[in-house]
Symmetry: C2
Subunit: 129 residues, 2 copies
DNA sequence: GCCATAGTCAACCGTTCGGTTGAAGAAGCG
DNA sequence: CGCTTCTTCAACCGAACGGTTGACTATGGC
């Protein structure tokens, strides 16, 4: 896959099995076989899932004899958290302001959902700010 | 699609165009045509993207004459945030504890990555707590 | 060297995804 | 009513996804 980092992280976590793997790795490192055990899919399938998680930077694998312990990389979560928080706060801020406007407005002028939309400057995510 | 809510939200945001739409909606509501303008894909394609975002609960659409203003639903972001924070903190806590153990250990006993993995009780995400 | 164990690579298969074109709904305007 | 505008539905297409089976690589123990 050649997608941007954020897309890789989000789509890696879009699969319930992969989220479950992440959840279990939060408790402690594990080998591929250990990770595969609970699911009724082949080890190869789990190996693929781990590759997806690794490409997203969510896990890393070392070597230890024949085993390849899988390790959760917590820091990549920040990438998501930052993205999410930015737009959540922005949206909530907008509601707060809208509330103020409506409250300050004489009742007989208050309109229905005021469609404040406009050809916005298109905040591009590549240049966040 | 019949996936679980969390999967829907994550995979909705796994697409850069859809994330950009969310980013622009954080500034203010907009119609399908307005949203479609900046991209060089057809309006139908954007309409599909909006359907995905709507199914994930990230946006809602009202009606206003022929227009269907699209509105960002900020509260659904919390679902993600909660999931992310749980495992991020869990993982960080684990590192902290591991650090303590290593610090408290006489140097000549300190092992390599201790592979503390085990057939963990599998914390299932359906029953988070 | 030989064999068992742990994991990955490669090819294939059905389904989903993001996109297209073309037609159809829904609502305002002359 | 007929026409234009905004939006969605339907069918299709190629690429990617999640899974399988089978062969291969890598390491350790005897």
């Amino acid at each position: 896959m050649v997608a941007d980092p954020l897309s890789r992280v989000f789509s890696a976590l879009a699969d319930p099995t992969r989220r479950d793997i992440v959840a279990r790795l939060a408790v402690g490192d594990a080998t591929v076989n250990e990770l595969a055990a609970p699911y009724d899919v082949t080890v190869q399938a789990v190996s693929k899932h781990l590759k997806v998680l690794e490409d997203a930077g969510l896990v890393s694998r070392s070597r230890e004899a024949q085993r390849r312990p899988v390790h959760l990389e917590a820091n990549v979560f920040d990438l998501m958290t930052r993205w999410i928080e930015r737009y959540r706060q922005q949206a909530e801020e907008r509601y707060r302001r809208l509330d103020d406007v409506l409250r300050a407005m004489p009742d007989d002028v208050a309109p229905h959902p005021p469609t404040d939309a406009a050809p916005t400057p298109i905040p591009q995510e590549g240049t966040p700010s």
